[in-house]
């Protein structure tokens, strides 16, 4: 995969240049050639790339090279900052109506993921204490209404449908229904359509005029190529969209469409969806998307996930244990559980720099059944064995293997891994004692 690790390639390109002091034009140009290719491979629109590169070049030439960064890192930093800015500062929220119900209209091409996303949006509102109503207004695709009804059942949100009648009437009736039944949010799932289909685009306009939605959200597949710009600007010109939801981000698409759409329409990307499960709706973070498009991984998301899942108290205890060299297999199991809570392992690994692509991922074992096996092995130990693994001799190993349905080799491997982890922790703890600044690093794991 040619552009999987931009940071690495840039470093390689710039290693030969070795500037000190200020970034020269030569540095910047060499670097930006790689950046340009990376952006194009990520499906960022050609024109957007051209403008962007020009802007970065202007800013980067003559820039002081910070002592802590290499020229390559310096360029990347500037590129990343500019990208984040272009992508629009912080994440945006849904505008709620002053007088409920808030009406949200979902639009987009066929197959972008409108119906599934409508369900996810409804669930996220419901979890925040709202009473959403889903509206089945896709009367064209076979069984689309049925799909929304099933989705509604899954997430326990009511679905309003009138069969295959005029979508404008459906929308109007749905809003009236919401009024009567106290639903404070109405999510209208419209049929997928081509942006050049005048007739169907006219239908959307009619719905818009009939119910005056507070939010029109364009659903865009993150795998979309150069076409994203045409689609988004057509929908925006004809309907005036308020924001974009980027779907299927759990794949390995770099999602350059996000950047193109923002650059061309100026409309914010409000949410991203990352799984087929109904809880897979996430707030969109422009800075993280910038790194992803550049192929630099999503370290920030990883850290945040770790922060959300790790129990503060437990982490503190663990640090203390590490200091005292009292880390046991029980703690090891705790840790594994916490990692599991962070989400599917393959997703976590995908967020690490350079791992965004399947090629590398495949060499790594992301099989979660391994975790289960490790848990089973630990569960088959006595309390004493867990606290003091050194006493586990050959006969105990055989017993543990039998008890957990594994082989002695598996038990051996686990014990070896555990010992390595313990060694590593000893080193970390030692480092922390030596340098007081080391605290920062521990915060990273907390």
């Amino acid at each position: 995969m040619p552009f999987s690790n931009l940071t690495g390639r840039l470093q390689e390109t710039l290693r030969k240049l070795r500037t000190r002091g200020k970034l020269t034009e030569k540095d910047v140009e060499a670097a930006l050639r790689e950046v340009r290719l990376a952006l194009l491979e990520a499906d960022v629109n050609y024109k957007v790339v051209r403008d962007f590169i020009g802007k970065v070049k202007e800013r980067a030439v003559g820039h002081e090279v910070l002592s802590s960064l290499s020229p390559a890192q310096q360029v990347i930093k500037i590129v990343n900052e500019e990208l984040t800015e272009l992508m629009g500062g912080t994440q945006s929220k849904i505008t709620f109506a002053s007088k409920p119900p808030t009406i949200i209209m979902m639009v987009g091409l066929q197959g972008a993921g409108k119906t599934t996303t409508s369900g996810k949006l409804a669930l996220s509102f419901k979890n925040k204490g709202h009473r959403p109503l889903l509206v089945a207004a896709d009367i064209y695709r076979p069984a689309a209404i049925k799909q929304l009804i099933v989705v509604g059942e899954q997430i326990d949100v009511p679905v309003f449908s009138m069969g295959e009648t005029n979508p404008v009437d459906i929308a109007k009736a749905a809003v009236a229904h919401a009024d009567r039944h106290g639903n404070d949010i109405v999510i209208i799932d419209t049929a997928g359509r081509l942006h050049i289909d005048t007739e169907l685009m006219g239908e959307l306009e009619e719905i818009k005029n009939a119910v005056a939605p507070h939010e029109i959200l364009l659903v865009v597949d993150s795998m979309t190529g150069q076409e994203a710009v045409n689609v988004a600007s057509s929908f925006d010109e004809q309907l005036g969209i308020d924001g974009v939801i980027l779907t299927k981000l759990d794949g390995d698409a770099r999602g350059g469409a996000a950047l193109s759409i923002k650059a061309v329409t100026g409309k914010p990307i409000k949410f991203a969806t990352m799984s087929e499960k109904m809880d897979g709706l996430e707030v969109f973070h422009p800075d993280r998307m910038a790194s992803r498009i550049l192929g630099m991984g999503d370290v920030l998301s990883l850290i945040e996930k770790a922060e959300a899942s790790f129990d503060e108290q437990k982490a503190r205890e663990l640090t203390e244990k590490m200091r005292q060299d009292a880390f046991t297999l029980e703690d090891f199991k705790d840790q594994l559980n916490q990692i599991k809570q962070m989400g599917p392992l393959d997703q976590l690994l995908g967020m690490l720099p350079g791992m965004g692509r399947m090629n590398q991922l495949k060499n790594l074992d992301v099989d979660e059944s391994h975790l289960k096996r490790i848990e089973a092995i630990i569960d088959s130990m006595t309390v004493e064995e867990r606290r003091n693994p050194d006493i586990i001799g050959g006969s105990r190993r055989r017993r543990i293997a039998q008890g957990s349905g594994t082989r002695v080799q598996d038990v051996n491997r686990l014990l070896k891994q555990f010992n390595q982890t313990r060694q590593l922790m000893k080193q970390f703890a030692g480092m922390e004692k030596k340098m007081k600044k080391g605290r920062g690093m521990f915060n990273l794991f907390r």
Binding site: P2, L37, E41, A42, D43, Y46, L109, Q110, G111, A112, G113, Y140, R141, P142, A143, A144, K146, Q147, L148, I149, V150, V151, G152, E153, Q154, I155, D156, P158, V159, F160, M162, G163, E164, H177, H181, L194, I196, D221, M223, T224, G225, Q226, E227, N230, V231, K248, D250, G251, D252, R254, E276, D279, Q341, G343, D346, R357, M358, L361, K362, D367
Partner: protein
């Protein structure tokens, strides 16, 4: 995550009443009207079965694809001398058509070479050169849809979510039926809500049988039953639908591999076609899709869908160049007739005309 799941199960009882109310009122209407609309649609689709309608539709579909792509090439090349700037502009156009950096650079290298050897000096000569090279690239690995003489012939359709698998199957079934084949469909998408209903609607429109299990059933079992039923009912060809999945989901790809193996074992030989459905608006990710789906099941060709938009479909060039995968069919609209054979010459000609 778990907590959320349990939470929603718990609260379900409370809200169930309200939910039922809404649906009770509406569901009977759904069924009634569905039937009505279906009748209307069969009428609609029967009408344009004339040759002119078919050709016009293909042209219409392609002309949308063409605008902005080749128009711009003629605009740029005519009456200009060949210089570096011109090469760069051509490069830009290819990239904007989703051809991708690698394939674009390779194409441009070949053209630069040929400009030298063939001593071409005029911009319009460059256009026919580019056309030649694109046709050559697309023809090199081209293979039409091929079903063996053994009966039943087997087709499996795979792809990411929302690529248009089910619609493609509907159109393909219609086409095969027009050719007097007895077609059987297998509703292997047991995951997405109402996916098998969608296939059933298509089957009714076309007038073929469907083998379906309930939602959440093992897709391998559907594959098994589909092949067994195809044999028992002496069908000429079966088409097995599969759930859309992102190619990076290792588990789901393993499942797809299993579905294929089950179908193969029951059929007693490799399936005739494993078609990867790719949305024409897809960018460079199509390469990753083609690579990883091919690892799960032996993909024999591509179906390029939604070519009736303004998407330029240039990803076809990258797929042919980098993965040697032929495009077998193109979808150019939402009607039953809108599935065409992919013809490299016609395709390129249409792009340039």
């Amino acid at each position: 995550m778990l907590r959320r799941l349990f939470g929603s199960r718990g609260s379900r009882k409370n809200e169930a009443k309200q939910e039922i109310q809404v649906q009770e009122v509406t569901e009977p209407e759904v069924e009634q009207q569905e039937v009505e609309v279906q009748e209307v649609e069969t009428e609609n689709t029967v009408e344009p079965v004339t040759k002119t309608g078919l050709f016009a539709r293909l042209k219409q579909g392609l002309s949308k694809t063409r605008t902005g792509f080749i128009d711009r090439i003629s605009q740029i090349v005519t009456g200009r001398a060949i210089d570096e700037e011109l090469f760069e502009e051509l490069e830009e156009i290819l990239i904007q058509a989703d051809v991708g950096v690698t394939t674009t650079l390779e194409l441009m290298d070949t053209i630069r070479e040929r400009v030298k050897t063939d001593k071409i000096t005029d911009g319009s000569g460059l256009q026919s050169l580019l056309k030649e090279e694109i046709v050559a690239l697309l023809s090199k690995h081209h293979q039409p849809l091929a079903l063996s003489d053994e009966r039943p012939a087997g087709i499996m359709v795979v792809g990411v979510n929302g690529a248009g698998k089910t619609t493609t199957i509907g159109k393909l079934a219609y086409r095969l039926k027009q050719e007097q084949a007895k077609v059987l469909l297998g509703a292997g998408d047991t995951f997405r809500a109402a996916a098998s209903d969608q296939l059933k609607v298509w089957a009714e429109r076309v007038g073929v049988d469907v083998i379906a299990h309930q939602e959440g059933a093992d897709p391998g079992a559907v594959a098994f039953d589909t092949v067994a039923a195809a044999k028992a009912r002496k069908a000429d060809v079966f088409i097995l639908d599969t759930a859309g999945r992102l190619q990076t989901k290792t588990n789901l790809m393993a499942e797809l591999g299993k579905v294929y193996r089950v179908a193969k074992r029951e059929l007693g030989r490799d399936l005739d076609e494993v078609l990867l459905v790719v949305d024409a608006t897809t960018g460079q990710n199509a390469l990753s899709q083609a690579r990883l789906f091919s690892e799960a099941a032996p993909v024999t060709g591509i179906v390029l869908t939604k070519l009736d938009g303004t998407a330029k479909g240039g990803i076809v060039l990258a797929l042919a160049n980098e993965l040697k995968l032929p495009v077998k069919l193109v979808g150019v609209g939402e009607q039953m007739l809108d599935l065409q054979d992919f013809d490299p010459v016609e395709f390129t000609e249409a792009l340039f005309s």
